[in-house]
Amino acid sequence: MSSANENLYRMRSFKNKLAMVLSCSATLFGLGWLVWILATTLINGFSALGTALFTQMTPSPGSPGGLANAFYGSALMSLIALAIGTPIGLMAGVWLAEFARHTKLGTVVRFINDILLSAPSIVLGLFVYTAFILPVSAMTNHQVGFSALAGALTLALLVIPVVVRTTDEMLQLQPSTMREAALALGVPQWKLTLQIVLRAARAGVVTGVLLALARITGETAPLLFTAFGNQYWSSDILKPMASVPVVIFQFAMSPFDDWHALAWAGALVLTMFVLTLSLLSRLILLRDRSN
């Protein structure tokens, strides 16, 4: 009897130890990839880093160059995307949190928005291609085809769900007593929302915009056939425009070593930018909570 108990105890204890060891090794395994990927990017990226990266255009194979036009294109398209996507996302988030908190329609919109949040970005690119590029091209007699504007619109589609989600969440966190106090003073609802609730939730909303920016700067797939790419400097938003991720894709897939080096340098800058943004948004939220 006691030996059966003993055996059972040993068995359970062994199982537990095995599970704990596996759990720890799973964590090490997960972190191992992170270290491996970051280390590769850092080592390969730093060796190709230089001032030329930010001052010269994308080269043809065999000649020196940088990614200046791609950085410019990425920055411009991201800015336009934020300018279009943020207000729409903010307004939709305000509606969800202030007007439709427990309504059926609100639940449906929240549900659909969550799906858009993780929908494949390449399909969004196809959507912009059929719904924007084709009609515009037909209207202008094929003068305007792939364009930076189309790329920016695609990125805006990626910004909207992120901003909607964070705005909705952050506004819901604001105490209802604050709203009631304002309403008791006779403040109209629009003023209450814009000047009091949104202001109180400012840090959270800014975090949402930063996260959205982090998401779109690394986005490649939908830009391949909306903004296309451009070997030269271009600031015409109705023409194809280079962007960092697309250039990285083209250069990395090519057989040329100097293009590979440039691709790594671009990858390093991109990764650092995105990681800085996500750290920054975390810091903003932390500081806001401690206040």
Binding site: I122, V123, F127, F146
Partner: protein
């Protein structure tokens, strides 16, 4: 006297009409404000309908030309104008399945570590580090996969798999092939690394919602950590955990860049996981800007429509399952 009272009444009347005008103005502004923000929210619904509609419309030429053959043939020949979706659909499903096979147990292990095993001071940094993994752009995974991981596969893993697993009768055919480095298995592994953070963070979050009293009662009865996790935490959060897995699956199905780099873009059906293949997203990324016939382009958009429908269903299931847990909490 009468003058005074007249002035007084007219003043109050003035003030009254002024405040009424103001109230009316505020009401009007509120109405417009409400309509504007509501319109923005409806735009979100409208967008989803538009995405489905436009890809369906864009793919209609392919659907009309090939009919059901689009879903059942393996040809993908731009010159002959024959397009069938079997190879990319198969590639998408297999790579995603492989990714889940690797990512689910690993994520489960990390989530247990974060909620039950690790000392409190270690939880925050490790959780943040895993989330950093989620923030890295997918193109970096792709580059790393192509330049670092694929050679590693070709030199070390593939020959080993070929020698040891390829000889097993029955499933051996899955593991036979030249050590190219790129292929279905490599894509599955890279995808797994990409979705581990998503699944981990959902599991970590839902494991935290288990009432402490429930866990402590189990510990008080003498349960080991593993028994508490397996018999208390997991049953309590089952639907949400499955929801998290589906969320990861949704990501894996639609992931483009990481897969495009390491899958090899080959349009042939092969039983071996070591052979190059193609997925829906990688075919679109590789061929769309170079598609010169309308039929080719339409077939690619049609593929996009299929991808959208499948991910929509998967993600909708995921959200519904996650919502069930939050209802249980009474949130």
């Amino acid at each position: 006297m009468t003058d005074n009272s007249q002035v007084l009444t007219s003043m109050t009347a003035d003030r009254q009409s002024e405040s009424e005008a103001r109230a009316a103005r505020d009401q009007r502004h509120d109405l417009w404000f409400r309509r504007t923000v509501c319109g923005a929210a409806m735009l979100v619904l409208f967008l989803l309908a538009c995405i489905a509609g436009s890809t369906l419309w864009g793919g209609s030429e392919a659907f009309r030309t090939f009919g059901l053959d689009f879903l059942t043939t393996t040809d993908w020949d731009a010159v002959a104008g024959k397009f069938g979706a079997v190879v990319p659909v198969y590639g998408t499903l297999v790579t995603s399945f492989l990714a889940l096979l690797i990512a689910v147990p690993v994520s489960f292990g990390i989530a247990i570590f974060l909620t039950e095993v690790a000392p409190p001071w270690l939880r925050m940094p490790i959780a943040s580090a895993i989330e950093l993994l989620a923030g890295i752009p997918s193109i970096i995974y792709g580059m790393w996969g192509l330049f670092v991981f694929a050679p590693f596969m070709a030199e070390h893993l593939s020959p080993w798999i070929n020698d040891n697993l390829g000889a097993i009768p029955g499933i051996g055919v899955l593991f036979q092939g030249p050590p190219l480095g790129i292929g279905t298995l490599t894509a599955g592994i890279v995808l797994a690394i990409m979705i581990i953070p998503f699944i981990t963070s959902v599991m970590n979050e839902v494991f935290r919602t288990v009432p402490v009293a429930l866990k402590e009662s189990a510990y008080a009865l003498g349960g080991t950590t593993w028994e508490v996790v397996w018999d208390i935490v997991l049953p309590y959060t089952r639907t949400a955990v499955v929801g998290g897995v589906f969320l990861g699956l949704g990501r894996a199905l639609g992931e483009t860049m990481a897969v495009t780099f390491v899958l090899g873009n080959a349009h042939q059906l092969s039983a071996s996981l070591l052979m190059p293949s193609s997925s829906i997203a990688s075919v679109i990324a590789n061929e769309f800007s170079e598609a010169y016939t309308d039929l080719h382009r339409s077939s690619l958009i049609g593929l996009g429509f299929l991808l959208f429908v499948v991910t929509f269903i998967v993600l909708a299931c995921a959200r519904l399952m996650l919502m069930r847990l939050s209802r249980k909490e009474g949130l």
